[in-house]
């Protein structure tokens, strides 16, 4: 745990980060920006796991290992999303959300 910092302050910071990510996810119109917002949301979740592990159960490691898994899944998800975006750009020359309809049917 961090000296002089309570768990409430850390959880406040991660909650703010999470909702900034949701705000970007809804307002952005570009696929890559949506991906950036998803990264923010995933990061806030990972920090929450670590904080609760460190403050409430400091002698086990489950929260930390969960956030390692979150980081691994995020890496896989980003690689796949970017390959899909590049393929879409080749087909329709655009990465705007409203132009994407080739995969709907």
């Amino acid at each position: 745990m961090i000296e002089g910092i309570s768990i409430y302050e850390l959880l406040t910071v991660t909650s703010i980060l999470f909702f900034i990510g949701i705000y970007g996810f809804i307002t952005r119109k570009n696929l890559i920006s949506v991906l950036i917002s998803v990264e923010l949301i995933l990061n806030a979740g990972a920090v929450n796991f670590v904080v609760i592990n460190k403050y409430l159960y400091p002698d086990v490691l489950q929260g930390m290992i969960f956030s390692i898994f979150i980081i691994a899944v995020a890496a896989a998800e980003t690689a796949l999303a970017i390959s899909i975006i590049i393929n879409l750009y080749r087909k329709i020359s655009s990465v705007e959300v409203r132009d994407v309809e080739t995969m709907k049917y």
Binding site: L17, S33, Y55
Partner: protein
């Protein structure tokens, strides 16, 4: 001292996260995300999770950011400003997000967390033993599943990004 450091890191995190979702230039918003990820790694360092901070710096700040920058450079004109949502929609979303944040914070601040004292430091060998432990509470199965997932994602990304030749899909597009 640590208090001041934490507040600086929190300010960096929130400020650059806001800049990253508000900025109208694609590349700048990716670089702001890089600052947020580095600040998160700083928080991990302050909590004595050095291994996790190293993972955060190498995979997120090193790998994912480079990947996103590459894709921005491949599919986007640098000079182009992105179009943003209508102001009413932005306002509504901001309102909904602050409502959700208020709900989260009220739940967090009314709950009484049983904080226990400072625990022992974490060593990398302990983490490795825990990941490969197949006894009670071990993580060998998720570890193997994650490795298969990463392999599948790698093969899938190559296959999808390669796509078909332009001469072949000309008929499909038009």
């Amino acid at each position: 001292m640590e208090r001041i450091l934490f507040y600086i890191l929190a300010l960096i995190m929130i400020g650059f996260a806001l800049a990253s979702v508000m900025s109208r230039r694609m590349l700048r918003s990716v670089i702001y995300l890089l600052f947020v990820l580095c600040a998160v790694a700083g928080v991990y360092f302050m909590m004595d999770y050095n291994f996790l901070a190293a993972i955060q710096l190498t995979i997120y700040a090193g790998g994912i950011i480079v990947l996103i920058i590459f894709s921005v450079l491949l599919v986007h004109h640098i000079e182009m400003r992105m179009e943003i949502a209508r102001p009413t929609r932005q306002l509504l979303t901001a309102l909904a997000c602050s409502l959700g944040l208020a709900a989260f914070l009220s739940v967090i601040y009314t709950y009484d967390f049983q904080v226990s004292g400072p625990g022992p430091g974490t060593e990398v060998s302990v983490i490795g033993a825990k990941l490969l432990d197949y006894g009670e509470g071990g993580f060998i199965l998720p570890f193997e599943v994650i490795s298969v997932l990463l392999l599948a994602a790698m093969v899938g990304a190559i296959v999808i990004a390669k796509g078909t030749k332009l001469s072949e899909n000309k008929n499909e597009v038009k």
